[in-house]
């Protein structure tokens, strides 16, 4: 059956079973992805997917279940499983939300562009082939293009409950990723570039290919740096990449469960005064924008750090009640999972410096342009230990690409050691709006 009918059917089951506290999330997505290799399309993936997750609250206990099949038997099975699961959970304090009084039209959030859904495989293939050719032609040291894909995706979700909540929004996007491999004197370097937008711009293909190649080419000749302390500039990609691993600490639920280092620090300074961090759920075009969260609670702009001071935790209904507060509208949910705490669009207002000017504020610094995985970064303790690629910069001039270098420190110390903020966010669709940062006090190993 159609998704709308599936949602209605599950809510009707709830009424039939005299369960007044049931909510659900239904999602659907459509995706078209192409990969090219050596001037030819090598893979086309085309898909439609759907899922329905139901939550039953019964005597203060919660159970969840999901299904990807929207026919009566499967929907009923999922509903009954959620009901059964609720019997074994320890009691919680969830009271489902009543419908918000007035919700603006989510189309006003600018998350959906009708023209993107019309893009066909030929258009995506032309983009990918042009990007590949541009990447290859940009430098004679290119030896392979291990990955070049272009995709468009379109999705929607609906939150509904027995309390009368009903909220649906849709979004779409187009994106491409290019990885180029270059080799010189036995040294191999990858250059990566991605492009993710809500507007179709075929001319971006050549820019993407050239950018990936130029990034890899700039790293050829990289050498290790001697260990020690050196100021570090995280560029507009690596700053959100690194800090984003630690933002789970703003979850009220994490603090309640002893999993946040920010526990007990409300109102205290946790960052330099120049740092403010705000969650903006209504930012036009922001990929995390929404008027209502996954529990049907209205969202609102909420400062997390105000001029260096820790201002607010993020709450969903259950964690808020535990602290005697109201939900801040930060419930997140996938159809196959339960409720989690989720920020929407985290925005750190930028500073005055271009990236170049930022690196010139110190006589000598390490400019980080690429992070190599986050396994050494511990979201709980804040420990940072991560391999990076980038450049040694002296007097504002890039003097040497570096590799086999790690930076180490603590994310919560890092917020206090920010010396200056850059002026630009990275241009791709992202829920993190964090500018480049100049940070002191990090340890380098090389």
């Amino acid at each position: 059956m159609e998704s709308q009918a599936a949602a209605d059917y599950v809510l009707a089951l709830a009424r039939e079973h005299r369960l007044p506290d049931v909510d659900l999330l239904v999602t659907g997505e459509e995706r078209l992805t192409l990969r090219v290799n050596r001037g030819r399309v090598e893979k086309v993936d085309q898909s439609t997917a759907q899922g329905l997750g139901v939550r039953v609250v019964r005597d203060g206990r919660t159970g969840v279940a999901f299904t990807e099949r929207f026919e009566q038997g499967s929907l009923e099975k999922a509903f009954l499983a959620a009901k059964e699961n609720a019997q074994l959970q320890d009691p919680t304090d969830v009271l489902l939300a009543d419908p918000p009084p007035a919700v603006p039209d989510p189309e006003g959030l600018g998350l959906y562009s009708p023209t993107l859904d019309a893009l066909n495989a030929e258009q995506l293939a032309a983009f990918a082939l042009e990007a590949e050719a541009a990447a290859r032609d940009a430098d004679r040291r290119v030896t392979a293009i291990p990955h070049l894909s272009v995709s468009r995706e379109s999705g929607w979700y609906e939150v509904a409950s027995t309390h009368g909540v009903k909220y649906r929004q849709r979004s779409n996007a187009v994106g491409a990723f290019c990885q180029v491999l270059l080799e010189e004197r036995g040294q191999r370097k990858s250059g990566n570039a991605s492009w993710a937008r809500r507007e179709w711009r075929p001319e971006a293909a050549r820019e993407l290919g050239r950018l990936a190649t130029s990034r890899g080419a700039a790293l050829l000749g990289a050498r290790p740096l001697p260990g020690g302390k050196l100021p570090v500039v995280l560029d507009e990609y690596s700053a959100p990449g690194l800090l984003g691993m630690y933002f789970g600490a703003f979850s009220g639920e994490a603090a309640q469960k002893g999993q946040s280092r920010l526990k007990g620090k409300l109102g205290e300074p946790i960052a330099v005064e120049a740092v403010t961090l705000v969650d903006e759920p209504h930012r036009i075009g922001g990929p995390g924008s929404r008027f209502v969260d996954a529990e049907g609670v209205p969202t609102r702009t909420l400062p997390l750090i105000e001029r260096g001071r820790f201002a607010h935790f993020l709450y969903h209904i259950e964690s808020a009640r535990k602290d005697g507060r109201s939900s801040t509208g930060h419930a997140g949910r996938g159809y196959s999972s339960g409720i989690t705490t989720r920020s929407h669009n985290l925005v750190m207002p930028p500073g005055p410096h271009s990236l170049e000017a930022l690196t010139a504020l110190e006589p000598r610094c390490l400019l980080v342009t690429e992070l190599e995985g986050g396994a050494g970064c511990n979201p709980l303790s804040g420990d940072i230990s991560i391999g990076v690629q980038g450049f040694l910069v002296e007097q504002g001039r890039r003097v040497q690409p570096v590799d086999a270098v790690t930076i180490a420190g603590n994310a919560f110390d890092l917020l206090r050691d920010i010396r200056a903020l850059g002026s630009e966010y990275q241009p791709n669709l992202s829920r993190l709006f964090i500018p480049p940062l100049l940070v002191q006090g990090m340890a380098l190993s090389g």
């Binding site: 893979k43 086309v44 993936d45 085309q46 898909s47 439609t48 997917a49 759907q50 159970g63 969840v64 279940a65 999901f66 299904t67 990807e68 099949r69 929207f70 499967s74 499983a81 959620a82 059964e84 699961n85 074994l88 959970q89 320890d90 495989a121 030896t143 392979a144 293009i145 291990p146 990885q179 491999l181 191999r188 370097k189 990858s190 260990g227 309640q256 469960k257 002893g258 999993q259 280092r261 196959s336 339960g338 190599e372 995985g373 396994a375 050494g376 511990n378 709980l380 303790s381 804040g382 420990d383 230990s385 391999g387 086999a404 790690t406 180490a408 603590n410 340890a443 190993s445 090389g446």
Partner: protein
């Protein structure tokens, strides 16, 4: 097995036939019906209980080396025919085509379930988690938080193709995870254990809870009291079991034909050449009974195999799927895998390990004046094209003058797989395998990593 009413043989035949008549050289149908469930305990409470059903059908058409893949959760024949028609749209050439008649391949089940999970009430799992929580907390007040979860998944899959293959397989996965947080004033540290098997509830029933809790709590407590290591290049003794994650990431991925076929691997063109010292033999074995990364058949329907990757230091084989094998000019190794019907299969690892060697751990430690003993590894990542990797050490110790000295935290190992491999100079006999999840272009699949304790002569250690 897939419920018979979900997808009729005639529907599968019609899909394959449509693919061939639209010019494909090869057509394949992958159908999956999965039941999953999980129970999480956190902060002494049963925090969440969930379950669900995933169902979908994936259709793949190959035109030479071009692959077209699509999927749908709608099992109606009309919907699937439309999906197949859409996939074939780019190729307008029509020709008569008839799939070979299906031959049912029966697969011996090496990983038979002894205790059917459905026969055990959920309450038993809840009790198990509570017992585990209590045992971890027995390690003292410095243990400030405990999390534990049980997750189970039963996958029924069907793979049929235009060459007449029809094979069905059932895969029951069972896994438990425990995490302990310890705090001694210098910031919290986590110790984690997460064993798992391709098997039934017997895994939970036979678990050694004492050992599991000791391992997670012990690691967290040690690291909570540890100082930071001074980074630099030094010899490293890499612990057994999950230490094999480095070989998995830095050598295993670049040995998959997905990287080889594009010449995007440091190991491309190196078959038959020495890539490590003669003491090193490395194997990827999909046949090991009940191991987390094992399979009866791969996701292209080929029986699982044992593949020797490196033999006495010489590179012998790559891990391949149908397309990768053809493009790289190597045999298929039964390594085509996918997370679910939402992914087309590609070459992936199964149970990958470095085989036993002649040395003892004591010999390795004694041979080092100053270095790192990375007893337990955390996660990591690699760029298969360059071999550059980055791994966290979960539990580490300094080695001073041939002896294991103080515990150290915050260490990271950095290097390039093909450069580090020849620097493995000593290998122990204490081979252990350890379960993990591996993410790549065909999604997250269960894999096992493993090795005996081994010594790397020099590697960059990130620290403070």
């Amino acid at each position: 097995m897939l419920p018979p009413d979900l997808l009729k043989p005639s529907t599968v035949h019609n899909l394959l036939e449509l693919g061939l008549t639209r010019g494909a050289d090869f057509a394949e149908v992958f159908a999956e019906d999965s039941e999953s469930s999980s129970i999480d305990l956190l902060d002494r409470k049963i925090d969440s209980i969930g379950s669900g059903n995933s169902f979908g059908v994936g259709v793949r058409l190959l035109y030479g080396d071009e692959a077209y893949y699509g999927y749908s959760s709608d099992a109606e024949e009309a919907a699937l025919l439309k999906l197949t028609e859409n996939l074939a749209q780019a190729h307008r050439e029509h020709r008569p085509g008839q799939p070979s008649p299906f031959r049912q391949e029966s697969v011996p089940d090496r990983h038979a379930v002894r205790v059917d999970p459905e026969s055990v009430p959920k309450r038993e799992r809840v009790d198990l988690l509570r017992r585990l929580d209590e045992r971890v907390r027995r390690h003292g007040e410095a243990i400030t938080q405990v999390g534990a979860s049980v997750s189970e998944k039963k996958r029924a899959v069907l793979i049929a193709n235009s060459e007449g293959l029809w094979v069905e397989d059932g895969r029951q996965y069972s896994r438990i995870r425990v995490s302990a947080i310890a705090e001694k004033g210098a910031g919290p540290q986590v110790g984690v254990e997460s064993p798992g098997v391709l098997g039934g509830y017997e895994f939970f029933a036979e678990l050694d809870l004492e050992k599991l809790s000791e391992s997670a709590a012990g690691s967290a407590l040690l690291m909570a009291g540890a100082g930071y290591i001074d980074g630099g290049t030094m010899p490293v003794v890499l612990g057994n079991g999950f230490g094999g994650v480095i070989f998995h990431e830095a050598c295993g991925h670049p040995l998959e034909t997905e990287a080889i076929r594009k010449q995007a691997s440091p190991f491309a063109g190196k078959l038959g050449q020495p890539v490590a010292q003669p003491i090193l033999t490395a194997i990827d074995d999909g046949t090991l009974e009940h191991r987390w990364g094992s399979l009866n058949v791969d996701d292209e329907g080929l029986p699982a195999q044992r593949t020797v990757l490196i033999e006495n230091g010489i590179l012998r084989n790559y891990l391949s799927d149908r397309i990768g094998a053809r493009q790289a000019g190597v045999p298929r190794s039964g390594s085509a895998r996918r997370e679910s019907y939402r992914f087309a299969p590609v070459s992936r690892m199964r149970n990958t390990y470095i085989d036993r060697g002649p040395h003892t751990v004591a010999d390795m430690i004694a041979s080092i004046d100053f270095g790192l003993y990375a007893k337990k590894m955390g996660g990591g990542s690699v760029d298969p094209a360059t071999g550059e990797f980055n791994f966290a050490v979960q539990e580490g110790y300094a080695i001073r003058k041939g002896k294991i000295a103080e515990p150290v935290r915050g260490a990271t190992l950095i290097g390039k797989g093909h450069e580090v491999l020849p620097l493995i100079s000593m290998i122990g006999s204490d081979l252990e395998l350890s379960a993990g999840m591996c993410g790549a272009s065909s999604g997250w699949v269960p894999t096992t990593v493993g090795q005996p304790t081994l010594k790397i002569d020099r590697i960059l250690v990130g620290g403070r």
